[in-house]
């Protein structure tokens, strides 16, 4: 009975050969939204016969993946992204304008407006996202229409003593603050389209939020996770959030969705930013018509209904609201009402420059480090520092000349050293030798030399919106002369360098002393359950460090963290860990110490166990006290084992990005950032200043290189 199988295989292969080339679709969705897009893609295949290859990329990585893959023809035909990056995509020429398939009148007006650029439309709008007010029904509150009404309700609903609040939202994020700023009449951009921060509305909006927090009407340092917990546990009556929040509410909780209230003082509504998600067609697609068809298919008709029902998206297509199932969905219609008041987030480059300064100012004000009055100026200063003027383009010729001369000098010097002998004479077996080292050399070249050379060259360029210009050593001079900010400001290289050195020193000292102390305890043969302790103490090391970092970050939370809870038991006021430099730095150091001591403990334990006990007995008889034994026997004998560990530990700590990024995140105001995390921010959070970031990395390299020379000397002494 073989023939049916053979027939099946043949059939399958002919089918796959017959199939038309498929389309690639990239998106950043998860959960219901992902399911919905998969359903819609299937429907597309059913309708047209064209296969769709779907790739879900984590949202954070999607943008950089798109911008790097599409120019190399390795990207998708269609991708889904929020409209804010449209201008950037356009400048990088990775997105194609929409064809005649796009009928603007069929979509919500702000949604299509958001996709317009210089008179042309790009992509097909799929859904909109914006903020609205979520209220628990069981609190019996009516939706406030003004801030006065809101405040009255919040006062009634809050109970500071029990950590219960009227309102919770991610107040440290400018996306959430923007509607409030607009409600107070604020304008983000001046007449020339430049960002402006030092406005009366900015001060008023900051002051209003701060006063809510000061009156305990809303929690401090609220993260998304905290907001969710508070709402589900009925510890807050209202939440400001977006459509995604509906997926986070426990099934049993009854709630309703309302527009944000109007600011009583100005009479203006709090208008949220409107994010429009659209299906864009790649400029490099090989099947423009099919891709266009897919993008359109996803944006209208059945696909929209699928996205609404399964993905809980707020559709951009007007027809969808006529659909029976959609019309009955109160959440969808509520958001539509909100969306009609909203303004699309500007898709300008200038908008992208606003986020970090505003985040800085918001957090500084909310943590109490800066008054609402000074918040705007703080953001303005940061804005000016981050958006440094592009250094003047220079000619690369002198650099190339110096490089060539250097190479020539090196070669002549080397051949002078060879004293006239030819290469063959000096290395008679070079061929075979090269064959032996080739695999390792190739590995080194790919993993070390090439990235290093690229990084080095990159540091001589300035990058802006996909274009590189040669600027010579300007990045270095800017960094080293601390151009645009004072040396004592966190943005300055020197400030960060000092912080990095302090950070490294504090950590290494703590790691070694705690590790050594515990190793000595664990070595004590009288200690019961020694094996158990040993394993327990190594656990912090076995847990991936970013998980540990997140746990500690949670434990350091001002209101809900375990550490303040413990301090509270001793009657100590809760500490706002990330509000001052000292405590934020301490929090980082504590976390990293937790991670770092096991390594030193294991190294010390091994080294301790290799010290013969009779040395201690001899010392004991010689008249040495325990302390003297430690100082004169243990320490010197540990040195050979500990020194390399300390050198290694110091380099690790110097570049310990995860802890800084995840625990303090550089707060307050970037003050606890170290060199690597600062380099990261320049590259990925501050207008993609890759060249500047590369220059930072080169400087880091030089610092570590100098340190390695010092340690070489140190361990050299050891050998002698």
């Amino acid at each position: 009975m073989r023939s049916p199988w053979v027939a099946l295989v043949l059939l399958a292969s002919t089918l796959s050969f017959a199939a038309p080339p498929s389309l690639k679709l990239w998106h950043g969705y998860r959960g219901g939204e992902e399911q919905a897009i998969e359903q819609a893609a299937k429907a597309f295949t059913a309708a047209t016969g064209t296969q769709v290859e779907i790739l879900a990329v984590p949202y954070d990585a999607l943008s950089s993946k798109l911008t790097s893959a599409i120019p190399h023809e390795a990207g998708p035909d269609v991708f889904i992204f929020a409209h804010e990056r449209l201008r950037q995509f356009h400048r990088m020429k990775i997105v194609a304008p929409s064809g005649p398939g796009l009928e603007p009148s069929k979509y919500l007006k702000p949604a299509v407006d958001a996709l317009e650029l210089d008179g042309k439309f790009y992509g097909y709008p799929l859904s909109i996202k914006c903020l609205a007010l979520f209220m628990r029904d069981d609190r019996g509150l009516t939706a406030p229409t003004t801030t006065d009404a809101l405040e009255a309700q919040l006062t009634a609903a809050s109970n500071p003593a029990k950590n219960e609040f009227g309102l919770a939202y991610e107040a440290g994020d400018f996306y959430f603050h923007a509607p409030i700023l607009f409600g107070f009449g604020g304008q983000l951009f001046d007449a020339q389209g430049r960002a402006q921060f030092e406005t009366p509305a900015m001060e008023k909006s900051l002051a209003w939020v701060k006063s809510l927090q000061d009156r305990h009407l809303m929690p401090q340092e609220a993260s998304g996770a905290l907001v969710k917990t508070l709402f589900n546990e009925n510890r807050t009556a209202m939440v400001i959030s977006g459509p995604w929040f509906t997926g986070e509410i426990d099934p049993g909780v009854k709630y309703s969705i309302h527009p944000l209230p109007m600011v009583s003082e100005t009479g203006l509504p709090m208008a949220p930013f409107l994010g429009v998600e659209a299906a864009f067609v790649s400029s490099r697609t090989t099947q423009p018509e099919a891709a266009e068809a897919l993008a359109k298919f996803l944006a209208v008709g059945d696909a929209t209904v699928m996205r609404v029902i399964t993905g809980r998206q707020i559709p951009a297509e007007l027809a969808a609201y006529e659909n029976e199932a959609v019309a009955k969905d109160t959440m969808i219609s509520a958001f539509r009402a909100v969306a009609e008041r909203g303004t699309a987030t500007p898709n300008t480059l200038e908008m992208a420059r606003v986020w970090e300064p505003m985040k800085l100012a918001l957090r500084a004000v909310l943590q109490g480090g800066v008054s609402p009055h000074d918040g705007g100026p703080l953001a303005g200063r940061r804005y000016r520092a981050l958006n440094r003027e592009a250094p003047p383009t220079t000619s690369p010729v002198p650099y190339v000349v110096v490089l060539v001369l250097g190479l020539v000098a090196l070669v002549t010097w080397q051949s002078r050293k060879a004293k006239g002998k030819s290469f063959k004479q000096r290395y008679p077996e070079a061929g075979r030798g090269l064959a032996y080292v080739a695999p390792a050399a190739a590995g080194l070249a790919v993993l070390v030399v090439v990235p290093f050379v690229i990084g080095l060259s990159l540091s001589l360029f300035h990058h802006e919106a996909g274009e590189y210009s040669f600027v010579g050593l300007a990045n270095f001079t800017d960094i080293l002369t601390s151009k645009g900010y004072r040396i004592t400001e966190p943005l300055s290289f020197y400030f960060t360098l000092v912080v990095t050195l302090l950070w490294t020193l504090a950590n290494v000292v703590l790691h070694v002393s705690i590790g050594l102390f515990l190793a000595i305890l664990l070595k004590e043969p009288l200690l019961k359950l020694r094996g158990v302790y040993r394993v327990l103490l190594i656990v912090p090391w076995a847990v991936p460090n970013y998980i540990t970092a997140m746990m500690w970050k949670g434990m350091f939370h001002r209101q809900f963290g375990a550490i303040n809870a413990i301090l509270g038991m001793f009657g100590i006021e809760p500490v706002s860990w990330f509000a001052q430099w000292s405590t934020a730095f301490a929090a980082n150091v504590i976390t990293n110490t937790w991670l770092g001591f096991p390594f030193m403990m294991v190294v010390s334990l091994g080294a301790l166990q290799s010290i013969p006990t009779d040395l201690y007995e001899a010392a004991e008889v010689d008249g040495a006290s325990k302390w003297t034994q430690f100082r004169r026997i243990t320490l010197p004998l540990l040195r050979p084992a500990l020194l390399p560990a300390i050198i290694l530990g110091s380099v690790w700590t110097f570049n310990m990005f995860n802890i800084i990024y995840l625990v303090s995140g550089g707060e307050p105001g970037g003050g606890t950032d170290i060199l690597v995390s600062e380099a990261f921010r320049w590259a990925f959070q501050r207008n993609e200043q890759y060249g500047f970031a590369a220059a930072y990395s080169v400087l880091i390299f030089f610092v570590l290189f100098a340190w390695s020379q010092v340690t070489k000397r140190l361990s050299g002494e050891e050998q002698a």
């Binding site: 013969p612 009779d614 040395l615 007995e617 001899a618 010392a619 004991e620 008889v621 010689d622 008249g623 040495a624 006290s625 003297t628 004169r632 026997i633 010197p636 004998l637």
Partner: protein, 370 residues
Amino acid sequence: MQIPLVVPCVLSTLRPLVSDVRLVGIKKSFGENAIVKGVDLDVIDGEFLVMVGPSGCGKTTLLRIISGLEQMDEGELFIGGKKMNDVPPRERDVGMVFQSYALYPHMTVRENMAFGLELRKLPRAEIDARVAEAARMLELGPLLERKPKALSGGQRQRVAMGRVIVRRPQLFLFDEPLSNLDTALRVAMRGELARLHRQLGVTMIYVTHDQVEAMTLATRVAVFNQGILQQLGAPLELYHRPCNAFVAQFLGSPSMNLITAKREGDRFVGAGFTLPAVGDASGEVKLGMRPQDLRVGSEGPIRGEIEAVERLGFDGYAFLKTPAGPIAARFEGADVQVGQTVAVMPTGDVLHVFSSDGARALRHPEARRA
């Protein structure tokens, strides 16, 4: 001929306080295992006491109890008349040379020796003088700046000794210091140790399981077995008048022959032999004869087949298989070969008589009773 008196005046300054060591009913167990089972011992001031016994009999443990590195379970310890039970090692003023030397690997020879003195906060000049003196005595002068890694076994041994000497403790403890050395070096070091003891005149307790060391070095020897002191006395006294079969067999090489016999009137009768009876023992006994006191020949009360020969030159020892058990006996010159059947003959009054379980000596040969 005048025998030079060997305690030079210079060295007499090294003499510490008059001291003696006294152990009273000392017991020590590790978990279930009783290791030291009640030891009473008086060490006379200035003597060289050697503790011997088979491996695992508790010698090291006892030494460590004296030094304070180990706590005793029961009993009392006095050093220099002072009760030491609860005094930590560093206050006991004892010097200990470890079996492994335990030199501090990160210190030079000089630093190793000076360490104990520095801890006592002696003035620098004094420390240097003492180190120099000890180095001269032990011929360590050229090695002072080396680290232990760069020393030979014998040199390390001397450094270990020097480290103790410079401190001038009132009591020296040695735990098999020579066991790691080769034979030639061991013989040489033995001589140095004896000289050192004569020079310093200080009490030394020395642990070994090498009976030659015990016989050559000791003022008195203490023989241990299974955590019990078997006998204490001058080396020759122990050799000639062992108080039980264990001591008799432990000292002397080859070890004493022991055969079972029964007293029948004026004869000892055993398997395949009869010997004229001596002493007043009756019934079942154990007879001991040192191989040195037996001659191989054609005539004799005990006959057997030669199983092995240990020729030292003109003479040597033959090991026989006899009905009474294995017997070792001396031979001279004679043409002795494995496989021969020969007789052995006592060279006079040589018979030690022990109770049948070997626990008590009943009689020793007359001539050696003095």
